[in-house]
């Protein structure tokens, strides 16, 4: 599997000289299997640039949405391949208890918030309420599971013969836990992340900032580190950087958690970075 980060920012696109190194686009990750299968994780503003480099002869794209907060769908309508007639695009995302994915997604992707309706897109679009049982896209095995974040939100575990990627860009496993973490079986997301070769995880806040944002659905970088240790991952990639954090601030957050020995490799998520699994 090859993984490319097209957007690492959380909450709001944050372009500018102070965010140029880690990037200002919101969540979007490209996953390519060895046989060329393309998964796109979330449709934040980073998906626009990804759309520019997708080969013209591709016949199918699968987009996996973790949830429908704006920073995870804002780029959807600007994904160039959606305007290619005949291209099969499958979109997966969580339904709510009362509305399916299509109903929820069209609240944004319809006038007056967006000029083009889903049904008017030239690509052949198929929307799926993400199954809670494992499913496959070509050779990739995908597991989705609800995780701790306001509103229906899933994380993904994507595996093939080469290894496993876990993706939880918006996740607050420390919510309500006095001394985080609890044992693995009482910690949100551990089943998805267990032993992953690469975990992409929410690391939006410092611990001080988290104290003022409990229940907002995000993690302090210290929580992400503790979670990765409980889940016994091999690499932790910090993600969903706060829009108010400059590159220097993101650097300082990484340095702060490096003061202790870590049982995994720690990587700060940076737009355009690529990783190989296997």
């Amino acid at each position: 599997m090859k993984i490319t980060l097209w957007g690492t920012r959380g909450s709001l696109p944050s372009p500018g000289p102070e965010t140029v190194r880690y990037g200002g686009n919101t969540s979007c990750v490209e996953v390519r299997s060895n046989d060329g299968t393309l998964l796109v994780l979330d449709a934040g503003t980073g998906i626009r640039r990804l759309g520019n480099v997708i080969e013209p002869d591709i016949v199918r794209i699968d987009i996996l949405l973790t949830h429908l907060h704006m920073d995870h769908i804002q780029g959807f309508g600007f994904f160039g391949p959606l305007f290619r007639p005949g291209l099969d695009v499958h979109v997966y995302g969580p339904p709510s208890t009362t509305h399916d994915l299509r109903t929820r997604l069209t609240k944004y992707l319809s006038p007056p918030l967006f000029p083009v309706r889903l049904r008017d897109l030239p690509a052949r679009l198929s929307l799926h309420d993400v199954p809670m049982e494992p499913f496959s896209v070509n050779g990739l095995r995908i597991e989705a599971s609800l995780i701790s974040h306001p509103g229906p939100t899933v994380g993904y575990r994507i595996s093939d013969r080469s290894g496993t990627l876990a993706y939880m860009p918006d996740h607050e496993p420390a919510l309500g836990v006095e001394k985080f973490p609890l044992p693995a079986d009482w910690t949100s997301g551990t089943a998805l992340a267990a032993g992953a070769d690469l975990l992409i995880h929410d690391s939006q806040y410092t611990l001080w900032e988290y104290a003022d944002h409990v229940g907002w659905g995000h993690s302090a970088i210290e929580h992400a580190v503790a979670f990765a240790a409980v889940a016994k991952v091999k690499r932790l990639l910090t993600f969903h950087h706060d829009p108010g954090h400059s590159d220097e601030m993101v650097d300082r957050m990484e340095q702060a958690v490096r003061t202790q020995p870590l049982p995994f490799e720690l990587i700060t998520g940076r737009e355009d970075a690529t990783f190989k699994i296997g």
Binding site: P94, P95, S96, T97, M132, S145, L146, I147, S148, P152, L175, G176, V177, E178, A184, D185, W186, T187, S188, G189, T190, A191, A194, G195, A231, K232
Partner: protein, 131 residues
Amino acid sequence: MTQKQIEIILMRQLASYLALPIFIVDPQGNLIFFNEPAEALLGRTFDEAGEMPMSEWSTIFEQSDEHGNPLLPDELPLVKALKTRRPAYRALRIMGLDGVPRRLEVTAYPLEGQGGRLLGAAALFWMLDHE
């Protein structure tokens, strides 16, 4: 790596902050958590008691009705809520694990997630002896 369903994890976290005694069971009826206010009522801490199968918790407290007649497990609100997937209520008596008899009202409700997944059930207790 096994993990409880997120709804159950959040239910435990909510229960741990509430002053009402709360019991949580999984879909098989195994007692998987009770909070500190419930510890006072049941006469044992959760750390001491640990998880408990339904066959144990449904009898260990010697549950009886308001007149002292023993209750079968299926007559307990929590078991009813789990099996019928509907809320259930009744007044009953228990013998705490500290040997103290107590009169309670119990309201139990099933925990059902998206897609009709039965996640377990929860029960709230109200101590009548304090009224």
